[in-house]
Symmetry: C2
Subunit: 425 residues, 2 copies
């Protein structure tokens, strides 16, 4: 926490975990490092051509060209919101009527991070509680810290958040008179960051049921982050958590084009319960006075002109190769080391690695600097655990395979193997 005089409480709370800047400094200081740390997307498959094509189409319509360069509305570009909702319903195999939803509940932001922040900021006061998986996406944990909110970790396994553990935590808070402070459950429902686990269908339904059952004067919301939904490399898509909330009063579904198309264009969105739309837009207007309209017109054209699905096929093929390269390298260089194991994800951008229990993977531990010396950077798993967790394993690692080439991935994993051997010896 920053102690500088004259700062707001929020600014002091925000000054907590500086892992990202630490890692970036390491990467800058060692330019030959293979970074298996950054959650960036593959540079080579970024959609230059589809973006150019979409812009050509946009420029061919003078009225739309002008409109794209003018202010938009706080809620976002209507035709884009329409397509976003359509795609979600189609993927879930539902109709708008079945899901009690309309485009008035679709809010577009400059990246889904803004949407997640706005929803959190509209629901949460300092000392409120959000249940999060242990582990969870660390940038969202940063949002909660920034708001002075308690992130309470709930056990997860290879099917994601464990409903029984959520139930127990909620019952415990009810018994201690703190249930009114539990405002939300956060879940990356597809290929979680960092664990790459997807929540099973049965559990999706169970989580919605739990949130509704424990809702009192205020609802307990589920904030469903679907950022990786479309980065599936094998197996069948499953319906969103939102699809198990036909009343539409419980789940906020957040989506993003940053992973599936371009993080530089930075368009995200959320499908909100009706009663949250007004409050979120009230805050949004004050914070951003509207997200970039140009980017929304661009992404609308990308979707409307079917440039998106072709691109998805292309990046899926590329990431499929990379995940295979990662898993093969792990098999070759890490499997022989006793006590090292990992999941085999069918999507997303991460492999979540467990080392022997006595290996501390943190930046202050024995492994981290050796790994850097050997030529590889990773995210220490401990940064992915909510501040209030029953478990805080020190022996986990998040490997990202989005940015490096297959060859670099191989070198990086081999380097990691060498570093681990030095430490477990």
């Amino acid at each position: 926490m920053l102690r500088q005089p004259g700062l707001s409480r929020r600014a002091r709370w925000a000054g907590g975990d500086r892992v990202v800047s630490q890692l970036m400094a390491k990467a800058l200081a060692h330019p030959k490092l293979v970074s298996l740390a950054a959650g960036f997307t593959d540079q080579q498959t970024l959609p230059v051509e589809p973006t150019q094509k979409a812009l050509e189409i946009l420029w061919s319509d003078p009225a739309r060209s002008l409109a794209a360069l003018q202010y938009g509305t706080t809620i976002g570009h209507g035709p884009l919101r329409e397509l976003l909702l359509e795609r979600m319903l189609q993927a879930d195999g539902r109709t708008a009527a079945e899901m009690n939803v309309s485009i008035d509940q679709v809010v577009v932001t400059a990246g889904s991070n803004v949407l997640l922040f706005l929803v959190a900021d509209s629901l949460l006061d300092p000392d409120d509680i959000v249940l999060c998986g242990a582990p969870s996406y660390f940038v969202f944990l940063g949002i909660l810290a920034n708001l002075g909110v308690r992130a309470v970790g709930v056990e997860t396994d290879e099917q994601g958040l464990i409903p029984e553990a959520v139930d127990e935590e909620l019952a415990r808070r009810a018994a201690s008179g703190e249930l009114h402070r539990v405002k939300a459950i956060y879940a990356v429902s597809y290929f979680d960051n960092p664990s790459s686990v997807s929540i099973s269908v049965e559990r999706r339904a169970a989580l919605v049921e739990l949130a509704k059952r424990y809702s009192g004067e205020h609802r307990i919301r589920i904030i469903e982050d679907t950022a990786y939904r479309e980065l599936r490399y094998s197996g069948e898509d499953v319906p969103s958590i939102r699809s198990f909330d036909p009343e539409g009063d419980t789940v906020v579904a957040a989506g993003s084009f940053s992973k599936s198309f371009s993080p530089g264009i930075r368009v995200g969105w959320g499908v909100l319960p009706p009663d949250l739309v007004g409050p979120v837009l009230g805050q949004k207007g004050n914070i951003d006075f509207g997200s970039p309209n140009f980017n929304q017109y661009l992404m609308h054209t990308v979707l409307a002109e079917s440039l998106y699905d072709d691109h998805l096929e292309r990046i899926r093929a590329s990431y499929r190769e990379k995940i295979d390269a990662t898993l093969e390298a792990a098999e070759q260089f890490l499997a022989p080391i006793e006590g090292v194991s990992w999941g085999r994800p069918s999507g997303g951008l991460y492999v979540w690695l467990r080392l022997p229990e006595n290996v501390d993977t943190g930046t202050d531990g024995a492994l981290f600097d050796r790994a850097v010396d050997e030529g590889v950077l990773y995210v220490p798993g401990s940064h992915c655990y909510p501040s209030q967790s029953r478990v805080l394993p020190r022996n986990m690692i998040r490997l990202s395979f989005g940015v490096p080439s297959c060859q670099e991935i191989r070198c990086g994993v081999e380097a990691l193997g060498r570093a681990i051997r030095q430490v477990v010896r």
Copy 2:
């Protein structure tokens, strides 16, 4: 204030003034209305060609094309920040060394509204105090309300904020033991919204001196909003308030391309005191995880390829015609009505109109609906006054001439004249 259960304090505070949505609803319900209300920019001079040219140049460089579509950094695109700082220094006739400033203090955001919000959110706790002109930009007043902050109005005249009034207010707060709650002074230093007044050079220096003199354990900052600096239609540019702070510890200078180039591309920035950069970036990372990189590469190219200054010339010429049309129409249709007067701005997008004291221009007053019936929409001046003001005149109107054509402006002002006559009669 919203009273819905389960909302955060902030969301409830944000739900205050709904004037913008009220006005937009009116405009939608009466599509033939001439809107002299919206602060949008002229649709016809939006920079379609310069944007196309800049993108052509960007696409011709494969490495930069890819980089533009990838994630950027939280602080923003380096080469853009360099040009922004250079332009500010050049306009102020100073060097970086004289101004104790470097590009590490330049933060780029998706519109300057985000920058203003981030600075406010990093400095201000609920019940803190910000001194603002009476009147002031109402969206910034909305930010302060959203943060639970007290916006205290200070008297202004045709040279802007009156330093003696600021001095008195600060002395009063010191006497009442509340000086530690005064964290900032907000000023739109060029062609203020709504009054179109620019702060005189002498007063710029005096305001900086006052802020420094009253600074105690924490500094009192001046948040200088330069959004309209480049929309000058006559007379000479004057140095920024920032230029009178050679130590660079007091003034935050916020800038924007939304008025001078394109609000749809939505790139803004701030030049911050060094000690505020870390806190602002800490919050920014949590809120937006980086502003759209694509837009920053685009605006960098626009500046670097000299596409910006040509465009500025073009829109200045267009707005010069519109302001002349507004002032001529006012002379013809409003001057004959006793008690009606207005300033003659040399820049910006607004004419600030004073009606006879007994005319209430508010949405609930006698004039507003008559004006709508006659065919014109305006912003009632009362929405532009800080919540804690010694004065709250009900007889002011903000007219915006950015969007309508000269012909529409003429019709709108004529309609307003008819409506006023009905009310003063």
